[in-house]
Symmetry: C2
Subunit: 134 residues, 2 copies
């Protein structure tokens, strides 16, 4: 199967530390690490859950797409990322089916991974990220 | 660890069949089964992904909370559900921490499961569902 797993769920927040009362202290998840992602003008706190992760994403500027999304819609679910075994093959198939892509080719994501985003217009209103496995 | 896994991601849509071009034909997921959930006035199409599921949720009336959410915000991510090993223990801990709950005690969810929802005000703007494992 080309889609292996829910890799992560990303939640955009104005202040990661302010949100840890719920995710860490109350729910019991643990921030495994934090990472600055300069390309996306964000900092990300990664909390493993089973074979997936919850990512809290905090914009570090006011000009990024993430910051504008936060200003417009408020904090909450931002995107879901699926791990795939062959991202080029999946992107080729999506293009052949007329699916609208934000990234026609893989770009660099968190931790140097290879990722691509599908446009919500083609995915039930959901911003879908794909990440290459391994 | 009390939180075991991402059990499912729920996406609210006006018409499940219309959305399968992306999730099934293009992305390659498979609808394992559909279920009417009269208590929630919805029908749900369940697509396994690794150890999790993507659920497409279609309101069957215009009066349910889900239908109103769809009318107001449009289709897209609705909630994320985490599988826990002891839902009573988790709810007790959340209450002790002052987390706002929609369900103070478990209620019946999809497939007769025992579930409870956490209010988005206490969970970074995310509607969080908890489901008892097993």
């Amino acid at each position: 199967m080309p889609v292996l797993n829910v890799h992560h769920i990303a939640i955009v927040v104005p202040d990661i530390d302010h949100e840890l009362d719920f995710w860490q202290a109350a729910l019991g998840l643990t921030v495994e690490h934090r990472e600055e992602v300069p390309e996306q003008e964000t900092v990300v706190a990664i909390m493993p859950v089973g074979g997936s992760e919850v990512e809290l994403v905090q914009p570090t500027t006011e000009t990024s797409g993430m910051a504008k999304y936060l200003a417009k819609r408020g904090q909450g679910l931002h995107h879901v990322c699926f791990e795939v075994d062959d991202i080029e093959e999946v992107l080729t198939r999506l293009k052949a089916k007329g699916i609208r892509l934000i990234n026609e080719e893989p770009v660099v994501g968190v931790g140097g991974s290879r990722v691509a985003f599908v446009h919500p217009k083609s995915a039930s209103g959901v911003l879908v990220e794909l990440v290459q496995s391994g």
